[in-house]
């Protein structure tokens, strides 16, 4: 019950901020879109006509979408924590009876809904601009996206926790965003252990749905199980790490400083 109240409050706050700062929101989308165009047409010029048959360009569309989705989920926790600490509201949310980790989960879930909608809108725009029409099987895509991004959320929690205690980790935060590029861009057959990192395997499965047109029910069970297990493991590790660092921050009185 309380969790629902919290989730509702977070969703409402998120909606208010998106609406009230609609200009910011739109500018962010425009920036993402422009970056996408640069990457896409850059890649097209670079690879040349061969790619049109090779399936690389659709891969870029999917990978880019997953990357931006990952970054928004990741920064919803990590940067939000830094922001709240700087603004002086972190101590207030740390006083929530549900505890800081659960507040952050609620924040993530609230953000997730909006991020998915925004990503889909961007995706349509990207497909329209590039003429790369992919399979938009929402019932298959949305669950895969949500589960994939939960793993990234775990990383965001861990980094956010580090920020609580060690403060100056903004550079690490930024670098990690680019590390995510590797996870969506590098081929899994050459880096098989990437499967066990967040994002990579989910990105692969979503590619199968969107590019190869396979429905989620036709994806082999073990493949789905791997995605779920990896995401849950990373999210769980992130939560445990964050809870630990939350306690450290409280015993060193660090929540109020940034």
């Amino acid at each position: 019950m309380r969790t629902l109240v919290l989730l509702w409050a977070m969703t409402k706050r998120e909606a208010i901020e998106l609406r009230r700062y609609a200009f910011d929101t739109v500018m962010q989308l425009v920036t993402i879109y422009v970056v996408f165009l640069l990457i896409f047409f850059g890649a097209k010029a670079f690879i040349g006509g061969a790619a049109r048959t090779g399936g690389t360009l659709p891969g870029i569309v999917v990978g880019f979408m997953m990357w931006t989705l990952a970054i928004s989920a990741y920064s919803d926790v990590s940067f939000t924590l830094v922001q709240e600490a700087t603004a002086g509201t972190l101590e207030q949310i740390a006083m929530a009876p549900l505890g800081l980790p659960r507040v952050l989960v609620a924040r993530f879930l609230a953000g997730l809904g909006f991020n998915l909608v925004i990503q889909l809108a961007l995706l349509l725009l990207m497909m329209a601009t590039t003429g790369q029409w992919l399979h938009l099987d929402l019932l298959s895509i949305l669950p895969l996206m949500a589960v994939t991004v939960a793993g990234v959320f775990g990383i965001g929690l861990a980094v956010g926790g580090l920020a609580l205690v060690f403060k100056r980790v903004q550079s690490v935060m930024q670098i990690l965003q680019f590390a995510f590029v590797a996870l969506v861009a590098l081929p899994l057959d050459r880096f098989p252990f990437f499967k066990y990192l967040p994002l990579a395997w989910g990105n692969h499965l979503i590619g199968r749905v969107m590019i190869d047109g396979i429905s989620i029910v036709r994806i082999p069970g073990p493949d789905l199980a791997l995605l779920l297990a990896v995401s849950v493991a990373w999210a769980g590790l992130g939560l445990a790490f964050m809870s630990r660092l939350d306690r450290v921050a409280r015993s060193r009185a660090l929540l109020g400083h940034y």
Partner: protein, 326 residues
């Protein structure tokens, strides 16, 4: 103390470990109690440990040792259960969301506490009215004046419906009028809701106005815990001003200073004022004897009424009233 104990702090200690500066004992064995519906001031000079104590109560700082019970809940062992009993407005923090309006902030903080929007609608309306935020209910917090923002922060603490509120320097940085305004709101809101309030402040007017009792800490320890009225009476009864004709100098001055090293005398050629604290009867007659020996003409003897500020300064500079004649 009225009614039951709502807050109980026992031997609270917080040591900040630092490799560079060595360990700091910010709070060093603090114990005190606050009864239900009491409004208590937590006073002390800079670095005395007020904020640390308040943050320990609010569970955002974990004590090194000691016990804190909030309405019977152990705040050290069960911090999550304990934060249901306490709301805090912290020093120097914003405490509220800049981008949300007054009403949205109130709704958000109520929900953070687990209260449903429908259940708190009436109390939000009431708080908006009580804190004079009616015209601004739809204004984002960042556009409010500093005084208004502080009122909103207070309202956001009240909306959580916790029995205990801790306010760390709530009037800091406010102008005279806003500070006065805020005091009135604190008093009214406390009385209306039957809330228990622990408030720290460097502004003794605020404390004297709002608090029934004060706990004074210095160097991490409690040095005084008494009702404001008692303190005023205790110190008031002992402070005298003797006005005598002529200057105080020569043998008279020496004799006075030997017997009362801390006395404060001001003279001009025609008249002298001697301010002195005389905690026991003997001191009074000793002084009178010295004056008689020098054949001074006593024009008047007055009891002085000290204010809380003077009392506070005396206590924290260790001129404790028990210190004997001075």
């Amino acid at each position: 103390m009225r009614g039951d104990t709502l807050l109980e702090i026992e031997a609270l200690t917080k040591v900040y470990r630092s490799r560079r500066r060595g360990d700091v004992r910010a709070v060093d064995g603090v114990s005190f109690r606050v009864g239900a519906s009491e409004v208590v001031g937590l006073l002390g000079p800079n670095g005395a440990g007020k904020t640390t104590t308040i943050k320990c109560l609010s569970t955002i700082v974990r004590p090194t040792s000691g016990r804190i019970a909030l309405d019977g809940v152990d705040a050290v062992r069960h911090p999550r259960a304990a934060v249901e009993k306490v709301a805090a407005v912290l020093e120097g923090n914003r405490n509220i969301y800049w981008r949300l309006t007054v009403r949205e902030n109130l709704e958000f903080f109520a929900a953070l506490q687990g209260l449903r929007a429908r259940a708190v609608r009436a109390s939000i309306d009431e708080l908006i009215g009580r804190f004079g935020l009616g015209d601004k209910a739809r204004t984002p917090a960042r556009m409010l004046s500093k005084g208004m923002q502080q009122k909103l922060a207070l309202a956001c603490a009240f909306v959580k419906e916790t029995p205990l509120l801790v306010l760390d320097e709530p009037t800091l940085g406010l102008d005279v009028e806003s500070s006065h305004d805020l005091r009135v709101h604190i008093k009214e809101a406390a009385a209306a809701g039957g809330r228990t309030i622990l408030l720290s402040s460097h502004d003794m007017d605020v404390v004297q106005d709002v608090c029934e009792r004060v706990v004074i800490v210095n160097g991490g320890r409690v040095v005084t815990d008494d009702r404001v009225a008692n303190l005023l009476e205790l110190f008031g009864a002992r402070a005298y001003r003797f006005t005598i004709a002529g200057p105080v100098g020569g043998p008279l001055g020496d004799a006075l200073r030997v017997r009362f090293p801390l006395l404060d005398a001001r003279s001009d050629p025609y008249r002298s004022e001697i301010d002195v604290e005389l905690p026991d009867g003997a001191g009074f007659y000793d002084l009178v004897d010295i004056l008689r020996e020098s054949r001074s003409v006593v024009e008047s003897i007055d009891r002085r009424d000290p204010n809380l500020e003077e009392i506070f300064l005396k206590i924290v500079t260790q001129e404790a009233p028990q210190g004997g004649a001075r």
